[in-house]
Amino acid sequence: MLTPKLAFRNILAHGQRSRTMLIVVGLVSAVLFLFLSFSDGEIENLKSGVIALNEPATDIVVYGSGFKAANDRGEDWQHLSTRFIEDSSGILAQLRGLPFVKRAVDPTTAMTLDIIAAGKRHENFFMRGVDVEQPYLIKDRLRMSEGSFFDSSNRPQVILHYKTASTVGLRPGDRLRLSGKDLFGQVVSQEATLSGYFMGDQDNPSLGEIGFMNMAAYREVSGLGPAETMSLCVDLKRGTGKEGAIAKLSGWASERGYKLEFWDFADTPRSVRADDLLHTYGLFRTIIEAIVVIVLAIVAFGIMNVVSVNLYDRRREIGTYYCLGSEKAFLGRLYALEIAMLNFAASIAGILTGFGMGSLLNALDIRTETSGMQIAFGGSQFRLGFSIGSAAFIVAAILLVTLITAVSTIGSSLRVPPLAAMQDME
């Protein structure tokens, strides 16, 4: 207990030096934390924007019994189609009636289709169906820039990303044709009406190839029967644990004779598209982390230098400790702890400062429609995300720098004869 007390006393006794160190390390921590927060914000934007529209997120995913395992094994559609959920509308209605279920919906299966408009074929739109009665998975994440969202009619309708307007040359209300293959590989060709153009709440150029269709269009082009689906999404009421809910749902299904499986969404495989996007932004994250490490390496030299000079100036104090009978090992621990306490406090202060600055920047709600900036931000809003992981990374990195400093500097600085105390007094 003596060592921390003495270390703390030393920090207070050398107020000027401690303050300088605190400010320098604190500022470095704040800047690096903002760097990492930028990367966190990118990934948050990506997840709540492009990825959520590509692959709607939920709490629990429902599959037909054995479907997930067969899908993981890469079995073809002929086999998979025997494991689809049948009577999906009946099951959904019952799921919505369960006390712990907030909402449930058929997320539909995204398909790659061409759009033929005004005699021209526009290839490879990633189209997903939207249940107009339960559109929350999609509708909450976009707003219409032109035209309107799907109406409740039974006419096949489509909405496209606003950046495709100039390419496809259609106005809301115009007719188009969806062409391609259904989920079973059969050729489909379906007329539909363009309801309008959407803009992602977190917009990104990657959304340009995404489109949505109402269930009237989806039923025609998917090849699935009216009550068939590959999966269902279940959102739970606040405070309901996923594990408990999965157990309850499994019991509920077996009581009614439904051959269903329930999975935590986090355990279901991501689509290739979502994986690719996350991989790309993961690479950006790695680059930012590498920059942080390089900056810290440079800072480490500065800290070593400051510590070295500090200890040189404190030879009298070190000599006094020796005169009082202290051993070198004790002094090594003492000064290492002093630097560690100081740097730890500085990194925490830096992180809090970074958090404050970041919150201010977020409050400015900076938005962009420029594609390049949207790629950089991961969405259309400049957002700094704050994660415990980033804060822990900064604290750990600063403590590592402290350790290196202690090992490389303190040993040589403590080679002071006890007489140094007397000499300085003279």
Partner: protein, 250 residues
């Protein structure tokens, strides 16, 4: 009265025999389809070209290829011979699955069978899965002096088209024209079969012109230049062979 009844029974028996005899003479839809497949999809090594021109574009694309097929086109290896940029980027189509070999990356990748070949009217799956007898229930819908009109309806939803109307030559048994329909009844493709030749596996049309109301103006032509009947062993139809080319040693 008894005599009258006997005469009626005799007449009825003659009519029934006549009907039975005429039914025997007219081929049924299954027989027509099986004969068509025997003519059109022999186990063979063939040389073919594909010519594409997109609507409104003056630029055309031409591909040359040698393909090895067996089991009514259910197993095919396609070796690209032109253009130079495509040589080595070969294709294996087998039981509804398509793999493409990327010679640059030395990797075999699974390709969705619904992908179109170079953005054209042909898709990989069309070639493999357009197997009439396995995927469709045929019925004779009509006939004239020259041809039968067959209607082929999907057996299940994995068939490449929902319904096909196929005109088949009465003499020869080869296809003359096919109209391919989606489930909602819209026409998605028409294939005209022309240029009768015997390339080594019997007389048959060697040029297929594909048009689609979805891509008006686009021209897709497949021409078979040579066809040598060949019994190809099952063992060459695997992903590894895309690189090892065992068929060259046969």
């Amino acid at each position: 009265m008894k005599k009258k009844a006997r005469t009626i029974i005799l007449l009825m028996a003659i009519m029934a025999m006549g009907a039975a005899l005429s039914a025997q003479a007219a081929p049924n839809a299954d027989t027509i389809i099986r004969e068509l497949e025997r003519i059109m999809f022999p186990d063979a090594k063939a040389v073919a070209t594909l010519h594409f021109q997109k609507a409104g574009e003056s630029r055309t694309e031409d591909y040359g290829m040698i393909y090895y097929s067996r089991d009514k086109n259910q197993k095919i290896i396609v070796r690209m011979t032109s253009p130079a940029s495509s040589i080595g980027n070969d294709i294996l189509m087998m039981d509804n699955n398509v793999w493409s070999y990327d010679k640059g990356a030395n990797r075999v990748m699974k390709v969705a069978s619904n992908l179109s070949f170079g953005g054209t009217g042909f898709s990989y799956g069309d070639v493999v899965r357009l197997n009439f007898s396995d995927n469709y229930i045929p019925a004779i819908k009509g006939e004239d002096d020259e041809s039968y009109l067959l209607e082929l309806v999907q057996k299940d939803r994995t068939a490449p088209y929902y319904r096909i109307e196929l005109w088949v030559a009465k003499k020869g048994g080869w296809p003359l024209k096919g109209i391919y329909y989606a489930r909602n009844g819209s026409v998605v493709k028409e294939i005209a079969y022309s240029e009768l030749r015997d390339l080594g596996t019997g007389r048959k049309p060697v040029t297929l012109v594909v048009t689609s109301p979805l891509d008006p103006g686009a021209v897709n032509v497949m021409s078979i230049l040579r066809e040598d009947p060949k019994e190809l062993p099952e063992r060459i139809f695997n992903k590894r062979n895309l690189e090892t080319r065992m068929e060259d040693k046969l």
